[in-house]
Each structure stands twice: as C-alpha cells, then as structure tokens.
C-alpha cells in the first residue's frame, strides 16, 4: 500500500547525543581496512589541523541510520521494513566527525514516492554537535519493494 504523502516534511525529535569515541573510530577504520593515520593517531590528525582523530567519511551512517529508525519504525507511517533495500546514500560535510563529538540527529521525511508499486522514502538526517553547530547532513533513500502479487 502506498505510503501517506502527508508525512512529507515531518521531522522527528532530535536523538539523545551519541558520543564519538577514539576506539570506535579505530574499530571502524580497521573493519574497512583503511590505514589512514588521521583515524587512529591523534598526532597525525593534529598535523592535518584536526583537534583529535577524525572518522572516515561514511562512519556517521551508523548514527544517522539508527536515528532514521524513528521514521522506519513509525507505526503511523507503516513502512514494511522486511521489504526495504538501501537505494541511495549521500553526505554533505561542514566538518569531519571527530573523537569527543557528542552528536544529535534530527530526521526529516524529505519525499515519498510510489513507483511501479515500490514505495520510495527519502530521509534527511541533520547532524549537529554539542554546541549546536552543523557537522554533516545524510540523505538516505529507502526502497520498499512491492509485495509479490500486489
């Protein structure tokens, strides 16, 4: 069933802060086999002008996608998550995420479309630091595939 268009523009309350830890960044960098010293060595990060180690560009997705759970699991919206695939992903950075950040995410439904029986949901996650400054915006497009025989 097509999703309710009246949800377009709806924003959800900001999440509780996520505190970015050096070791979590290291764990992520190791998992993607990325040896860039800016992710693990505070001195190397400082040499590049950063106050502490920074996170790889896609690290923040774990935080924004968890926040998008408010939308995905909103019973009023009624998205069938078992049929959802990740269509597109985009980030726009004001600055890199770094260790010590306390980040909150505000999720907004940017668009709802229906195409060939598929529901397409665009969620924007605005990520701010403790001072309220913008860090990064993440756009996530989710496609809920039409049920067979529907």
């Amino acid at each position: 069933m097509a999703l309710d268009q009246s949800f377009v523009g709806r924003s959800y309350p900001p999440t509780d802060p996520y505190e970015v830890g050096r070791e979590k960044i290291r764990e992520f960098a190791e998992a993607v086999r990325d040896a860039n010293p800016a992710y693990v060595d505070p001195e190397a990060a400082k040499a590049l002008g950063h106050s502490d180690v920074i996170a790889p560009p896609t690290f923040v997705f774990a935080i924004t996608f968890k926040a998008a759970g408010q939308v995905i699991e909103d019973p009023q919206l009624g998205l069938d998550y078992s049929r959802v695939v990740h269509g597109d992903q985009k980030f726009a950075y004001t600055r890199p995420v770094r260790a010590g950040d306390r980040l909150t995410v505000t999720s907004t439904i940017e668009a709802i479309k229906s195409l060939a029986g598929n529901d397409i949901l665009d969620i924007r996650g605005e990520v701010h630091d403790e001072a309220g400054e913008h860090v990064v915006t993440a756009w996530t497009k989710l496609v809920s595939r039409a049920a067979e025989g529907a």
Binding site: A31, V32, D34, L48, T58, H86, D88, Q89, K90, F91
Partner: protein, 143 residues
C-alpha cells in the same frame, strides 16, 4: 583541512590511482560489528537465499566506505571530502571461499568547481558488474 593535491595541478579527466579492495565473509562479519548493521543477508547464506539473493552480499555501506578511499588516499586528509553520494545498483556477492570478492574502484576528475573544489566521479566494479552508480564526491583541494 590539509591536502597535498593542488587545484591548479588537476584537470578534467585527471585520473586518481585505482585500487582493488578484497572482501571475504570475515570482512563482512567484522564490518557488521563495527557498523552495527547485523542484517543476516550479510553473513547468513541460508537467510540470503530465502529472501531471493544469490548468496551473501556485502553491506552497501561497506562498498561505499571502500570506494571513497580512492579519494582519501589521493588527497591525504579525509576532511577534504565535502560531499559524497552513491546509488547502490548491484550487490557485491561474497562467496564462502578463501577468495571472497573484489571491489575495483577507479576515479577521475569530472569537473572543476569554484573555491578550489573538484568533482570526482568514481566507478566501482565487482565480478564485472557496476555495483555503484552516480558515485560522486566533491573534494576540496589546496589553492
């Protein structure tokens, strides 16, 4: 932001050094833990087949993380990436053998923008299939 690549030194068509990234089942388990994405399609073959996939597939976000390394290894400072977007067009299929799969990534400068920025277009292939579409990064270079 500190990058070694000068805006004046690149042209439309400048190629970034291409890289090949291996991915095995062990890689996916490690990525699942680090990213918090425990969807069983990324580690459980029985489940993957039941939902209509040919085999276990890599996390799209893993492929996205690997592809941008062609840019971050080129510029040195990952903070030079000011925008990055992809479309997940085909899955990276990861068989349960010693070899796994490979993701081959190349990139080239597609446009010179204002303020020392360039747009880099990335191509990511696995098993002869294009696994990312519209894969683009806006990168701040030194001026």
């Amino acid at each position: 932001m500190t990058t070694t690549i000068q805006y004046a030194d690149v042209e439309i068509g400048t190629e970034l050094p291409a890289q090949t990234f291996p991915v095995t089942r062990a890689t996916l388990v490690q990525y699942a833990g680090a990213s918090g994405d425990f969807n069983p399609i990324h580690w459980n073959e029985k489940f993957a087949v039941e939902v209509g996939l040919p085999d276990v597939i890599a996390h799209g976000m893993f492929t996205m993380a690997e592809a941008i390394r062609v840019v971050t290894d080129w510029v040195g400072d990952p903070a030079a990436v000011v925008e990055y977007g992809v479309r997940f067009t085909k899955p990276v299929i990861v068989p349960n053998d010693d070899k796994g799969a490979e993701i081959e990534v190349s990139g080239k400068v597609a446009a010179k923008l204002d303020d020392g920025r360039v747009r880099v277009d990335l191509t990511a292939m696995s098993a002869g299939q294009k696994v990312l579409g519209m894969s683009r990064a806006v990168v701040q270079l030194a001026q």
